[in-house]
């Protein structure tokens, strides 16, 4: 098949597009269209190739070749309000409306003895905010981008007819780009921009138990997944400083270091299939956000001291619930969840203006000829308003996001415990 360079460029650009803070903190929990339609409550189901992200054990349910190519269009915007107009002279400031496409791709092959190998490419953590250049919070942040790309080879094994285990390695390539200003005196500012790259190795394990139907007892799904979160250490980063030329010798580009934690994540889920065409599930996620105590950019030369932004995050929790019903060739999905923000009000800042959020997802999946399928979903996120008590910038943040997701898949054979 001839691959046109134009389409190759587009595909590459899509993969490298900066992601948007969507999950708790800067986590992106939407890594599959079917799962997103179910508000991410997929750990106990994990019956397509996106199981590589949600629960690697679920891969062992698959037989033959499975491909899953998805893209999620994210629209979001953050608003900061200051009724007193003390910190925002105009009373309000908004980020640009973000409209980014986040792709993901999974491939798996299930061998008949119950061993499945797979590989997934996705972006688990990301952030992209661009505030107005002259806004009142520019000394904290003007632009911030965090990009990560996971490549996750995985393996899963059906140990017993009802027991599946799996795991994988996460090779995470990340880059960070943070721009803020620093007052040099009452009238002059310098622009500080930190940029860094790093690659880290993590891993994940998963467990899935699917009991068979016995009489009146429907099949029960128990899912568990754990994904390690290696820190991204941007040790060889660059701190570039745009300042008046008079200060160019003392405020010159220097090497700098910063660490951004990619927190550990545990998901525990329960599912039940009361009738063959209906699946219901509930899930609890824990994310070790208390790893994120501060964001410090440490110059390794030059005259500037380390720049520290306190965060003091606590661990994050999310509850999700979802259902899927099969109607002819169509799977109808609905889900909802609530996420307790890990960000502390006392340090809440415009880098990650996080808040508790309610999210509702809905979607359909359609089986096509030749083992093809298409999943389409929509997820609306309502970020609850939140007021920061950060002394130097106590403003109120509000936020919204809408995610539209589509995936095309090829499914060799359904395995045990999967719906067709």
């Amino acid at each position: 098949m001839r691959i046109d360079r134009h389409y190759v460029s587009i595909a590459l650009a899509l993969l490298l597009a900066p992601a948007i803070a969507r999950g708790g903190g800067y986590e992106i929990a939407e890594q599959g269209a079917a799962a997103t339609s179910m508000a991410g409550a997929f750990t106990a189901k994990a019956d397509d190739a996106s199981a590589i992200f949600y629960n690697a054990a679920g891969l062992a349910q698959l037989r033959g070749l499975h491909l899953y190519l998805g893209a999620t269009l994210v629209n979001s915007q953050v608003t900061a309000d200051d009724a007193s107009k003390t910190f925002l002279p105009e009373g309000s400031a908004k980020t640009g409306v973000v409209a980014q496409v986040m792709p993901n791709f999974y491939a798996a092959y299930g061998f008949s003895p119950g061993i499945t190998l797979g590989i997934g490419i996705f972006s688990h953590y990301g952030l992209s905010l661009s505030w107005p250049s002259d806004w009142g919070g520019r000394s904290l942040v003007r632009d911030v981008t965090l990009r990560t790309v996971n490549i996750s080879p995985s393996i899963a094994w059906q140990v017993l007819p009802f027991l599946f285990i799996g795991g994988g390695i996460d090779v995470i390539s990340g880059s960070a780009d943070l721009t803020r200003t620093m007052a040099l005196d009452a009238t002059t500012e310098a622009e500080l921009r930190f940029r860094g790259n790093d690659t880290a190795i993590g891993g994940n394990v998963g467990l899935l138990i699917v009991t068979p139907r016995k009489g009146a007892m429907p099949p029960i799904h128990l899912g568990f997944s754990y994904r390690t979160g290696p820190d991204l250490d941007f040790g060889g980063g660059r701190l570039s400083i745009s300042s008046p030329i008079e200060l160019s010798q003392v405020l010159r580009d220097v090497r700098a270091a910063a660490t951004v934690p990619m927190p550990d994540r545990i998901a525990v889920a329960l599912g039940v299939r009361p009738v063959d065409r209906l699946f219901l599930t509930a899930e609890f996620d824990w994310v070790h956000w208390s790893d994120f105590q501060s964001l410090t950019v440490t110059p390794t030369g030059g005259s500037l001291p380390p720049q520290t932004i306190p965060e003091n995050w606590r661990d994050g929790y999310t509850v999700r619930g979802a259902g899927e019903v099969l109607v002819g060739p169509v799977a109808l999905r609905l889900g909802a969840g609530f996420d307790w923000s890990p960000a502390a009000e006392s340090t809440l800042n415009p880098i990650v203006p996080d808040s508790n959020r309610v999210f509702v997802g809905a979607g359909v999946g359609i089986n096509l000829p030749r083992h093809l399928l298409i999943d389409i979903g929509l997820l609306g996120v309502d970020f609850l308003q939140r007021t920061s008590t950060l002394p130097q910038f106590p403003v109120e943040y509000s936020n919204w996001a809408v995610l539209t997701t589509v995936a095309l898949g090829y499914r060799g054979k359904p395995g045990p415990a999967t719906h067709p």
Binding site: L67, I151, S173, D276, L368, P369
Partner: protein, 243 residues
């Protein structure tokens, strides 16, 4: 137990082929682009510039001489010197780029002369015939780029970091009613800021008056004063040699 089989809707063969093709293309390119999402971390060199040297915190202080900072009076025949970090374009040394003012009378000393040394890195300011007026305070103001001096290679001549702060119109320290003074700039410690603040306050009237003459404050790259004492014996180094 397997759920019942699901009937499938019909689509064209072309759609099927495109679906698989897209998956292959994006998957392959994703792998290829894995390392390509990096941001640029190469360090950039600062823009070229010639600095009018001034840093009272060095040992010995890097300051023009003679200078009131040293608390030593100048001799009437002293030649004042200031240095630059690189050669200056001689053609830009003209009336208006170096101003010599009798700060005691606020009158310009038009008979004072100035010149660059052989390397064009030191500015010599010579007294008028008969010497500097004894007992008077003399001020020298150097105008840099773009309206004044320019570097030999066309670089801008700019103030040193310390003088950039000294010419500021805002205080460099804040001294609350209780507690120690704090620096208002992250570039200076409180102690450094306190020292430069004394100089800033002392030079502010001079810089204001030069600015009133139409010279942008941002182009004043150096200014200093020295006080002329009575002639003394040859062993009294009122006018310090060029160093």
């Amino acid at each position: 137990m397997l759920p019942p089989d699901i009937p499938r809707v019909d689509v064209t063969r072309k759609v099927v082929a495109l679906t698989l093709g897209a998956a292959v293309v994006v998957g392959a390119e994703a792998l290829g682009g894995f390392a390509g999402g990096c941001v640029d971390t190469d360090l950039a060199e600062p823009p070229p510039a010639v600095f009018a040297l001034f840093d009272p915190s060095t040992t010995p202080p890097t300051i023009p001489l003679p200078n009131d900072i040293t608390m030593t009076a100048a001799q009437p025949d002293s030649v004042a010197h200031s240095s630059f970090s690189g050669p200056v374009d001689r053609s830009t040394l003209r009336a208006g780029t170096v101003m010599v003012i009798d700060a005691t009378t606020s009158a310009p000393l038009i008979m004072a002369s100035f010149a660059l040394d052989e390397m064009a890195t030191t500015l010599d300011v010579s007294p008028p015939t008969g010497g500097w007026p004894v007992g008077h305070r003399i001020a020298v103001v150097v105008r840099g780029s773009p309206g004044g001096l320019v570097g030999a290679k066309g670089e801008p001549v700019v103030a040193s970091p310390a003088f950039y702060l000294v010419r500021s119109t805002s205080p460099l320290v804040q001294c609350p009613a209780t507690g120690p003074c704090v620096s208002t700039t992250p570039l200076l410690t409180a102690q450094q800021a306190f020292v430069l603040e004394q100089l800033r306050v002392a030079l502010a009237p001079l810089l204001d008056s030069v600015q009133a003459l139409g010279v942008p404050r941002s182009e004043i790259v150096l200014a200093w004063t020295f006080t002329v004492g009575p002639p003394v014996g040859a062993t009294d180094a009122g006018a310090l040699p060029r160093g």
